[in-house]
Point group: C2
Chain length 652, copies 2
């Protein structure tokens, strides 16, 4: 990917950005402010900039007069970087000179979602999907050689493809006689590898006429309590051909796991919740098939990861004992299952592989994150944090692993936040504020009019409002500020993020004190969980080599901001890897490499589960963490120093 230099004037700030990034994104990276409130749709017309050297792609708008255009004026949000540029931010777009200087003090450390390196996977011999296709040319039977059809297949697989210990399931045996005769005894078979090469059988699950080896696909699914995400993956290239996400339809029976379990215990409740989640998954399956245009017959497997309750509800295994002391899940491992047997709308041959669980509150989603991120193969001592309605924390490396779970609430997934939403089209995912005028600069997912705020946007927003002094460390809005964006409505103070004219929903998008409080509780739970688990294993954060951050709340995360609000302990941002939705990544990885299935058994056995609720220090840690960033500011020295400097500057 090409990168180009963009110099912003009058600040003389230079930033390197990727080809195709727009100038708002570049400004965000550079720490300069441009008023911009329509999310990149180009309709507010506020983000006028002058291109002084080089040229951009796009950037024109009917909001701009011809003479302005001739003078090099463009809308920053519509201007794509395709070469080195010098860009001047005119006074009317910046509004306050102080803003740039102030924001400059907070370096941006955006962590984009780590991409898989297929070449590396191939080099390591890891790119071996559990489901493989083989093209076979069978000798036609004659009077002298009339072995059964299956034997004919087995003979060719053995002699020409070195495939042994084959097992044919009944549904595929039913297909064989007709399919092999359809294209002159030329067929493609789909094989499911055993977990271990030296044991178990290779299952033949499908047979198709002709050569279809170039078309072999998997669907990977993360089943979250709040949201469900799916991807359709090309098992030949590893490429993700389509993505879809949706709210888990079980939400109608409660937002948290406990309410779901209570419902599952009622007559017919388990079946109902199973039907709801499979309904959501089936909608996602339908969508990714449609988006990608693949023939469903060529989808060979579906891999699924979810927390323990979600997994049991998917498999119709009653979760009643999960919520009762001593909190016992039904099983760690589940065998490969025919997708049809759990009501998934896929071909009769499709095998469903479900991630194993550790305990009632550390489930397959976390195991998937640990496996997918490669943490379990790493030498480095790693802190893995999965941010979701239920947050889970893992510490360890390839030698040892401990884990714990805590209830964070759904704030990072958009739950309990007035305009919260998941990271979908129109979600505000990046934000900066002019500390004087309180005018925002924002970017939305898909560059369309804002319709809400997703987790990553929320973190950035609260961090910026906090550093700008709009909210205090208790999460209260500064009532002394005289600004139209700060208002008191229905007895609650709120900050207006976007005026309704610039939104896609014809209402003001606001952030309320209640929203902020919910966010603080969520981040407090996660931070204190990490601290407690570190305490339990006798480690300090400085002994951690790497933080792996997982969460389906945005396509990137501003790490410094996450530390500013006290979600993450303050460490060097370079040590943090953001893997996005770790559960989905793990599901995808298990579709791409059979090694995961081989290794996961050991990982599950190795991982020691701590019950935070039975740890005395957890509640103390939690109470102390219910501030921005924390009761003890000395735990966040970089922030402390910045705030000191700012107070000093204000005093000067």
């Amino acid at each position: 990917m090409n990168t180009y230099k963009v110099k912003f004037l009058p600040h003389e700030r230079v930033v390197e950005v990727a080809e195709g990034d727009n100038l708002i994104k570049a400004a965000m990276e550079a720490g300069v402010h441009i008023n911009a409130s329509c999310g990149g749709e180009g309709v507010c017309g506020k983000c006028r900039v002058v291109i002084e050297s080089g040229s951009v792609e796009g950037g024109l708008s009917e909001k701009l007069a011809k003479e302005d255009i001739d003078a090099g004026v463009r809308l920053a949000c519509r201007s794509k970087v395709v070469e080195d540029l010098t860009v001047r931010i005119p006074v009317e777009s910046s509004m306050s000179d102080k803003s740039a200087l102030d924001i400059q003090r907070v370096p941006r450390k955006t962590a984009r979602i780590m991409q898989m390196d297929f070449e590396q996977l191939k080099d390591q011999g890891l790119f071996v999907p559990p489901v493989e296709k083989k093209y076979l040319e069978l000798p036609p039977p004659d009077a002298g050689e009339n072995v059964p059809d299956v034997t004919r297949l087995v003979n060719v697989l053995r002699l020409k493809h070195d495939e042994h210990r084959l097992e044919f399931l009944l549904p595929v045996i039913r297909l064989i006689p007709d399919v092999i005769r359809e294209q002159d005894f030329k067929v493609t078979v789909t094989l499911v590898r055993p977990v271990r090469e030296d044991g178990g059988k290779t299952q033949v699950i499908n047979i198709q006429p002709g050569d279809t080896t170039a078309m072999n696909y998997a669907i990977a699914v993360d089943i979250g309590t709040t949201t469900v995400y799916g991807e359709l993956i090309d098992l030949g290239s590893g490429e993700i051909l389509a993505r879809e996400g949706d709210f888990n339809a079980q939400i109608s029976f409660g937002e948290d796991i406990i309410t779901r379990i209570v419902h599952a215990e009622k007559p017919g409740g388990l079946k109902k919740l199973h039907d709801l989640v499979t309904g959501t998954i089936n909608k996602i399956i339908k969508s990714v098939i449609k988006q990608s245009g693949v023939d469903p017959e060529n989808i060979s497997t579906i891999t699924l990861a979810g927390n323990t309750t979600m997994t049991q509800l998917l498999l119709e295994v009653n979760p009643r004992h999960i919520r009762r002391s001593p909190y016992v899940p039904a099983s760690t491992f589940y065998p490969p299952i025919r997708a049809r047997d759990i009501d998934l709308a896929l071909g009769e041959h499709v095998t469903a592989l479900v991630y194993p669980q550790i305990s009632s509150y550390v489930g397959g989603d976390i195991v998937a994150g640990v496996m997918g991120s490669g943490l379990y193969r790493s030498e480095e001592l790693t802190l893995f944090i999965d941010i979701g309605t239920n947050a889970e924390i893992v510490i360890g490396n390839r030698d040892w692993l401990v884990c714990a779970a805590c209830s964070a609430g759904p704030a990072f997934e958009g739950g309990g936040i007035t305009f919260g939403m998941r990271a979908a089209k129109g979600a505000i995912e990046d934000f900066s504020i002019d500390p004087e005028t309180l005018e925002p600069m924002l970017l939305t997912h898909g560059n369309t009019k804002p319709v809400g705020i997703c987790g990553s946007g929320l973190i950035i927003m609260v961090a910026q409002l906090f550093e700008a002094g709009v909210i205090d460390s208790g999460g209260q809005i500064n009532k002394d500020l005289d600004n139209p964006r700060i208002r008191h409505k229905d007895n609650i103070y709120e900050y207006v993020v976007v005026w309704k004219e610039s939104t896609g929903i014809d209402r003001d998008i606001v952030l309320t004190e209640i929203d902020i409080d919910n966010l603080i509780r969520a981040k407090g739970a996660i931070y204190s969980g990490s601290q407690t688990l570190l305490d339990e294993v006798g480690l300090g954060i400085d002994q951690i080599s790497r933080i792996v951050l997982s969460g389906g709340f945005g396509s990137y995360i501003d790490l410094e901001k996450a530390m500013t609000i006290g979600l993450l302990p303050e460490i060097e941002p370079e040590k943090v890897t953001f893997i996005g939705n770790g559960s989905l990544m793990g599901a995808r990885m298990s579709a791409l490499t059979n090694r995961i299935r081989r290794d996961v058994g050991q990982v599950v056995q190795k991982m020691t589960n701590f019950e935070l609720s039975e740890t005395n220090s957890y509640m103390d840690h939690y109470m102390a963490a219910l501030f921005l960033p924390h009761t003890d500011i000395n735990l966040f020295p970089r922030l402390r120093d910045r705030m000191k400097a700012r107070r000093g500057g204000a005093a000067a």
Copy 2:
């Protein structure tokens, strides 16, 4: 089993019979004749005998006057032997003196169905069912030890029962959380053993509260083209607790395999035939459950054996290529299947084990016979003959095996015989004739009024009528005989076996020339099949150490009579073992010993299939065999000598 000596007067013939046998049976064995036509129901009142010493159980009847009873007169068919006896047959019961002398020349060599010797099986380490129950006492979970429920089970199975490589299927995982808590963490699990002890996994298919290890049952089923038989077996003792047989409901779509296949190729035909045969099996399942009174929840497995077409129809695998050159079946092996998946009315946990096939016309029924009879483990060179609508022949021992199939028609199962029936209640299964009066002595299955003739009865009847000169070697009835039992009706000659007054059907039971012709064609096909296969492997009948005879046509077979009609080659009767329904025996054995599943793979691979239709000599052998016993009487020297002696006697 106790045996007692019975001496018949005036013949001075002594015979040893089993305790509980009736005196008609004893007379049959002794070769003495007592008129008896009601099958043992005691209603014809003809079989009066005088007990001269010892006493019998039963034998009383309102047909007998008080003074007769006081004088020791009993009805032979109602008299059970419980000690040594001397019995006089009065003139009126015997009628012809010649009869006894004549019949005396034909030694009876009844082969009863070989019974399984469980002690021997145990000694050989073979009595190890593939499905086993284990009683477990689990430690209840507590806060300090809250592993998942399945892990708790696995730990106890591993540590206390040395069970490893366990696999839990989803349906049983669904049961576990509630069942283990039902009786204080005391449970019984049902395990399916892998085919090989050193590979594969042990599947846990069921879990029940408390200790149910004493109740572990299997159902074994033989799926014949004409009839279906089932047994319910106690896997603890090996005992057969209930039996049932019924006509295969597919018969409505044709009596032979080809017609069934033709129907299966029509739209919806395969499903229809599948539904019909599973309907028949389900009726049998229901009946054996009811008869035995076992709780269906304790039935752990169903083992099934059938010919290739029956197996494919059961499993809904289209058999279209079976009837088309080069006659290719879909598969040799079928994996273990959940009984529910093939619509069998059994518990969700029940595993169905289906016997593998050799070729299109040598199917799982024959493999079952070869496995069940132990032929495949024997050193002796054995000729195995399965008598059914499709007859199959196997020659070999533990080192090599060859097989062939031929179409015999359904005569031995009662098909194409005017009063033919399967070996059920009221079937005439033993018979002797007074060669002078042509009065019969007969025994029925269940000692009730005769309603028809089963296969074993038919063999004896035709042999006796032939030796008595009632029918000639071409199967024609001697029209010169002046006897009310020989008559010409509807243009066909027939012998009246039972007058309607003594039957259970209010019609004369007859044997017609057409019936005899059908029997000759059937036995001719089987005999010539055996001869052709012997020719193919370059062996003569004198090199065969043992004949294993299989067929569901009666509970015993009179071997000398089977040789008399030319069904079997003439060898020493001691060399012949009758195993009854070999397919059913094999199904039963595979429920009792997992060794069968281990060995069957090798047996199937070892067995070489010959296509008789492609063997020139088969038709020659067949044409020569369409006589009683054969065109070449010298192939049957014992019969030749008897007939010579008889002609000599007649001449004398």
